[in-house]
Symmetry: C2
Subunit: 269 residues, 2 copies
Amino acid sequence: MSKDGGILARYAMTLETLAAAPDGLSLMEVVQATGLPRGTVHRLLGALRGIGYIAPRGGRKIYVLGPRLLRLLHLGVAPAAVSSLVQPMLEKLVTRFKETAFVAKLVGADVQSVAMVVPGSDGQSYVQPGRVMPVHAAASAKAIFAFQDEALVEEVLSRPRTRYTENTRVEEAELRADLEQVRRQGFALCDEELDPGVLSYACPVHLEGAGVLYSIGLVGLSRRLGDHPRSEVVATLRAAAEAFSKGLPSGLHRPVIGEVPALGEERSG
Amino acid sequence: MSKDGGILARYAMTLETLAAAPDGLSLMEVVQATGLPRGTVHRLLGALRGIGYIAPRGGRKIYVLGPRLLRLLHLGVAPAAVSSLVQPMLEKLVTRFKETAFVAKLVGADVQSVAMVVPGSDGQSYVQPGRVMPVHAAASAKAIFAFQDEALVEEVLSRPRTRYTENTRVEEAELRADLEQVRRQGFALCDEELDPGVLSYACPVHLEGAGVLYSIGLVGLSRRLGDHPRSEVVATLRAAAEAFSKGLPSGLHRPVIGEVPALGEERSG
DNA sequence: AATATAGTTCTATTAAATGGAATTTTCAAA
DNA sequence: TTTGAAAATTCCATTTAATAGAACTATATT
């Protein structure tokens, strides 16, 4: 084997060089930073761009870390690490609506609850980590799966589903319609689909460049939570989701200005 | 060129497979998930482990995402995303010491101030983002550079330095001794090295698996800030640094239980 | 238009990836 | 402890990609 650690070491070096540059780097800047030959850097950048780990910024030949890498990094973060971050947000929600607030995360092909605050006596909260939410009967899960790849959705929908209540959707067509509605409306609703008399809302958390990996929502008795105007609940959750996405390491240094790089193959452009 | 997107596509597939499994996967599980031949997967995992992108969990041959990926995430995060997180911590420090508190971040080969709270009338705070701290005359920068790779330190020390005050260290040997002291003591001190009459403390923020990318500290007039016992200031800053590192998404799925994988080469273990 | 600089393509050489088979290790059941 | 099966690792002839430097093209700059 080579003395320098193989080809991956070069790719890693390139990624770290780009990560350290807030505004992205041109090919020649990478050449200078890494000490690699021009031709080599050109090929490395091309390969990294090919798999979406880096992306050109704007129309120019300036490269920054790409969406696929960001998504990977977020997936790699432990759910527990997030909970302290969102605790204050959840407590605000609880104060306002006097209902249980939660954050859920995509873990593999499951959605797990990550943090939860209940309207206890004086802001007392407990976390219920790792509980897997049923995809077909939880607003938290719907809010996330509505924005995942078709492949993942298909895998998830291929699993057997329990009919918890009369309202539980078990047919694939119904669920797909649900997900489509979530995409249109920007929030998920679960009206007595999991537990009778229990209503839940959830909003997807869009992480810039990394898609949707979290949702934030409220659960409560239909009679109480249902009394709040839907628009009010949703608006509040949306605001919380936005704050969440800004509080998390979500984006690249700067939003991509100009052309959005097309997915799929775009050779010899 | 190959039809499948090259070798990186396989590495990416492997990483994503592992990312979807919080508890890690064995070689054969990766084989099944990816459809690649055994021998190939074995080599891929070996290469990824070699650069720290994945790591064996416990003593067993189960692989999870590695620390080096996390560092990439933090490096890629915009400084602004951090400031909201640390604001409350800084305000606590200000309340306690009646001095300016700040957080600084490693950005490329510079240390920039990311957030700052001054002891204004009633908790009023303003952020002064992006100010680059001189490496040789700022506690914030010393606290960070003391824990960086030799290559980075060397690059930084190769730059010209201004002698701001009588106390400013400009000799490389002096600075290296400073950094060594920071490593030993766990905090950095800057005693009238940048501005006459101004004293600053900073503690490194150790992110689990990602090294030191931030520092948190205090700045104030020597006469006032110097009145506080050094041990008190340092203990408080250390606590803040620890809280900071817990508040940031710092951990991978699970801490490695059992043996800690050695750095460098550890073949045929 | 001239010139320098960045980016891209080309090419013979070197090095690594490939995957199937052989071998060793690991682990659990007898 | 023995035994057997699965997992992990090593091996190796073949294929394929990486390498680095030079030639070339595109893109500013004056």
